[in-house]
């Protein structure tokens, strides 16, 4: 599908793209951090942006910071799995780095909001889409309020947006309810593992190993 079939002969591990998505406040970032801490073979996809870097942000870790001109050149080459313009700044997922990791047999984890995930689903339908859910809307409100940074109307806005976003669940492959963090992380990791055991289109490649009756 994207050149990775060439690795069939040497039984090289096939990298997979996992998209972890969910409404704001469900704890995507925390789950991602835990996964990166405990999984060897997973690379985090780093976004590219045209906004200025803030204090403490590292190029290539927090974001790839580029000029608007550079960003638009990549758009023209269809070089983003998804991108969006938020106010005056671009944000996007560069395709090239993702493909390099996948080709090297590494899984790639992409943390992204629902809108972005839906774009990735179009540009990379082979991705595995995981929806992170709060235990309940009530608990989500409690978590958003606990951050104590938002005014009440902003909280209400976030809540109604979350309720709306959950309607996209049927577009996802998996859901994980983030009630207990450790359990949620284990569930995501079991999805990573199980996806590497799926037969699907790999049946021919697997059967190839067992062709000679010795």
């Amino acid at each position: 599908m994207n050149g990775r079939i060439d690795s069939s002969k040497d039984n090289k591990r096939e990298g997979k793209l996992f998209i972890l998505s969910g409404p704001s406040g469900t704890g995507k970032g925390t789950v991602v951090k835990q996964i990166l801490k405990t999984c060897d073979n997973v690379a985090l996809s780093v976004s590219m942006t045209t906004r200025a870097s803030r204090r403490g942000e590292v190029h290539g870790e927090s974001y790839y910071f580029v000029s608007q001109e550079e960003f638009e050149k990549i758009i023209d080459k269809d070089g983003f799995l998804e991108y969006a313009k938020v106010y005056e700044h671009y944000y996007g997922t560069p395709r090239e780095k993702v493909m390099q990791d996948l080709d090297a047999g590494r899984d790639v984890l992409l943390e992204i909001d629902i809108q972005g995930a839906m774009k990735v689903k179009r540009s990379f339908p082979d991705g595995i889409f995981i929806f992170l859910l709060p235990p309940s809307l009530k608990e989500l409100r409690r978590r958003i309020e606990a951050r104590a940074t938002d005014a009440q109307d902003v909280i209400d806005l976030r809540m109604s947006k979350a309720a709306e976003e959950i309607r996209y669940l049927p577009a996802y492959d998996y859901y994980v309810i983030n009630d207990d963090l450790t359990e949620a992380v284990e569930k995501v990791k079991s999805i990573f593992s199980a996806e590497h055991q799926r037969v699907d289109q790999t049946a021919e490649r697997i059967m190839e190993r067992y062709k000679e009756a010795d």
Copy 2:
């Protein structure tokens, strides 16, 4: 699909039927034993047979031992997920016990050969089919020979049967290569876990939890 949808409201766990299958000598039995040791919520499906019990075999554990008349009555009621007559004796997987466990929210693990699995696939297409593979045909031969119970022609027969059976891989959902036992068991367990996180037909039921915006 089979009455289990009624449990939607109380968020009861939905039991799933996992079929672990593979050629003779791949280590199905050992993997199953390890899983039952370490998984709480999995019941092993016990076969029914008309053959006489052997020393040490316990009714309801090794097999359900029944008369030919009883067995055929159950056949007539379509009470088996699969059955077969091997020489003069019947062997089958009673549907009722499996359904009871699933309804109680327990997963059911069925260890079965490829022919049996293909029958279960017709009678219970919602099952999750896992193919256990040897690391190689060469290693499979080594394992079969190590048992030292079979004559050379029987070993050759087993080997050619295994090579043939592997062609059924595309009918399965997952494959697990039993190279290292611990790893193989972990992979099977990750499949169990991940399958409970699949969105599929359960999206409506999940979204139901998030209907009220508080």
